[in-house]
């Protein structure tokens, strides 16, 4: 369910670095925190290039503590600007946040869980692990993949909860994670919860789809910020309008089109709904499809792309939008 946001004032009540480039930020709403279910996130009003934008952050843990929500933000040089802003926050700063809302709900009717985290994708899964352990007789395993322990927050906290059921993988030491290893910890009744960078999630989703297990037993949450290539500036030509615009490194193509006065329909802005799709006429580089709307087959065809999240690396792009009026 989608809920309308009620914006409330909150104060930064604590800041603590939990790993290299991962900062835990505690936000205390002036009127107290609401109860939430694990998997929930809050929206935060951030300032990017002097303009307000909205970013979503998963809540850490199973409940608000001392009236405050806890989130963790990874500083990404290649981000769209949200993390950079969040890292400027200091204790006692005031910001606007939404009530918690859940698009990644835990199904309680399951006896066996597998939580799979890639990097900062750990954030919604910490609370899930704690909740299942606390409330449920069920088995829970977690696979937590990261570069190395110094980059990965909450390892000790998770070890304390999960013991030997926490399966860590450090790609610096262990090499690339072989996705088929998830099946060592899954059976046809396992409920799988996945969150992580795009490439990681795609690989696991693909392996799951090719397995004999029910598709619906795998749930995942996207946060629309990662791709297969680092973000680069690229040029977009629109022959219909006889225009050429530039998409900056920290800007989405959708925003660049909007700023150039070219109307594109959109809704979710995280590559899920498909409303912002544009036709690709030509591309001299690699199209970095970062959405979850198009199928693998459609992505390979490179005929359409989602302007909200997808980008071009190593080249430029020629597109057409749906406008058919007079130019």
């Amino acid at each position: 369910m989608r809920f309308r946001n009620n914006w409330i004032d909150a104060k930064v009540s604590a800041i603590e670095d939990k790993a290299n480039n991962v900062r835990q930020i505690t936000l205390k709403p002036i009127d107290g925190a609401e109860p939430f279910t694990v998997g929930s996130h809050i929206d935060v009003s951030v300032i990017i290039n002097d303009k307000p934008e909205i970013r979503s952050y998963s809540l850490i843990g199973t409940q608000a503590t001392e009236g405050a929500y806890t989130i963790a933000v990874k500083r990404l040089e290649a981000s769209r600007g949200g993390s950079k802003y969040m890292w400027t926050l200091e204790v006692d700063n005031q910001i606007k946040i939404s009530q918690p809302s859940n698009h990644f709900e835990l199904n309680y009717g399951v006896s066996d869980y597998l939580l799979i985290a890639g990097g900062i994708g750990i954030t919604p899964l910490v609370g899930m692990a704690e909740e299942i352990k606390k409330k449920n007789q069920a088995t829970v395993n977690m696979i937590y993949v990261g570069v190395n322990p110094a980059e990965m927050p909450y390892i000790d906290r998770l070890k304390a909860v999960l013991g030997n059921n926490l399966h860590l993988h450090f790609s610096d030491i262990d090499g690339l994670y072989e996705v088929n290893r998830i099946f060592e910890l899954a059976n046809k009744n396992t409920g799988v919860y996945l969150c992580g960078p795009l490439g990681f999630m795609n690989a696991i989703r693909k392996a799951w789809e090719n397995s004999s297990f029910e598709n619906t037993n795998l749930r995942y949450e996207t946060f629309g910020a990662s791709g297969l290539f680092a973000p680069q500036t690229f040029k977009v030509k629109l022959p219909r309008f006889n225009r050429e615009i530039e998409v900056a490194e920290n800007q989405s193509m959708l925003k660049a089109l909007e700023e150039a006065g070219i109307d594109v329909m959109y809704d979710c802005q995280k590559g899920e709904c498909g409303l912002c799709q544009v036709n690709i006429l030509e591309c001299t580089g690699d199209i970095d499809h970062r959405d979850f709307f198009f199928s693998e087959k459609q992505k390979k065809q490179n005929k359409k792309m989602c302007a909200c999240v997808s980008r071009v690396a190593n080249g430029d792009l020629v597109i057409d939008t749906s406008y058919r009026g007079k130019v």
Partner: protein, 353 residues
């Protein structure tokens, strides 16, 4: 001090009866519980399912769609959902939006009712289902119905927690002057309240005389009891019966009498409507189906009298917006029930400061 007259709140973290067992089939049933629309159906394997009755996409009630085996198909654009509430099909696209789902409520069938938990699913403990075992205990026989009453559910609980009203509302069947005159005791703990009333050495009212005669042919005087037990937030069981005077019923020997349980559980639909599930179970003459039917229809007529009173009371509350109830000595049980419920609501509404 909270208003007794207009306090309409209900706890979310509780089991509420959403339907009788037989009402839930492999077909779509709409119900409203705690202001939320829910969709009930039974999977082919017999397990009940309770989903949010609003499509993820455009909020059309899914109950307006159809069931394809265990899959719900929205009647507007054909989105499909499995029994966990996850979307399994979207029109005109090759993928499914990862956030597409409707909420699946914890649901359990027990004591002939289908119970749903509308609050935090992590707290849904089956052990918290109110005890209504007389409904399907082989030593007891009975049946009941559900009525939708246009009043706040607390008014029904009030009604059941004090049976003085029997004398006036049900004078031809179960009410007589003894019910208003006999003394009563009120006890309570954190989750329950009990009102107990014994009427010793009386002539049984017509209803009880006929029931006792099914077991013992007699014109003797009886001891009559009414032990009302409230289980938070809205279940009331009433242990009722009569036994021949002097045979030890008040001390615990009910062998020379007949015993029934009036089983009531009330589910808030909105602040001004509720589903009132009731049943009457007895421990005598239990193989006599015609007795069961007769009792169900008899109680049904009696409860219709309550329905008229309760709906008129709700209208009166609305028409007298600034009036508060007065409370009498006889309201102690109802007031404990309200206070226990208020504490539940308060505890779950408390923000984490």
């Amino acid at each position: 001090m909270q208003s007794f007259t207009i306090n309409e709140s209900f706890p979310m973290n509780a089991w509420y009866a959403a339907a009788w067992d037989f009402e839930v089939k492999n077909t779509l049933l709409h119900r409203k519980v705690c202001n939320k629309p829910i969709l009930l159906y039974r999977k082919k394997d017999g397990t009940p399912v309770a989903l949010e009755d609003a499509c993820w996409h455009r909020l059309l009630p899914l109950s307006k769609g159809k069931l394809k085996n265990d899959t719900v198909v929205c009647g507007y654009h054909g989105l499909e959902y499995n029994s966990d509430g996850r979307c399994t099909h979207m029109p005109s696209q090759e993928t499914i939006n990862p956030s597409a789902c409707v909420r699946a409520y914890p649901v359990v069938q027990k004591y002939r009712y289908v119970w749903v938990w509308m609050g935090n699913p992590a707290l849904a403990d089956v052990a918290k289902i109110p005890d209504l075992h007389w409904n399907d205990d082989p030593d007891w026989a009975g049946d009941g119905k559900m009525i939708e009453v246009k009043c706040n559910y607390r008014l029904v609980v009030d009604n059941l927690m004090d049976l003085t009203h029997e004398t006036f509302v049900h004078s031809e069947s179960i009410g007589d002057e003894h019910v208003t005159e006999a003394p009563f005791d009120v006890f309570h703990d954190d989750n329950t309240a009990t009102v107990s009333r014994w009427m010793l050495g009386i002539d049984p009212p017509p209803f009880w005389k006929s029931q006792l005669n099914k077991k013992i042919k007699t014109d003797e005087k009886v001891d009559r009891w009414q032990i009302i037990n409230f289980q938070a937030p809205c279940t009331v069981t009433i242990d009722v019966g009569v036994a021949l005077t002097g045979t030890g019923a008040p001390e615990g020997d009910r062998s020379q009498g007949v015993n029934g349980y009036v089983l009531n559980t009330i589910t808030p639909m909105t602040s001004q409507t509720c589903m009132y599930f009731w049943a009457f179970s007895r421990n005598y003459n239990i193989k006599d189906q015609s007795n069961t039917t007769e009792l169900r229809d008899g109680v049904s007529r009696i409860f219709f009298q309550d329905e008229i009173i309760l709906e008129a009371q709700q209208i009166a509350i609305n028409e007298n917006p600034n009036r508060e109830f007065y409370n009498l000595n006889i309201d102690a049980g109802a007031m404990w029930a309200r206070r226990i419920t208020d504490k539940m609501v308060e505890a779950e509404q408390q923000k984490n400061q």
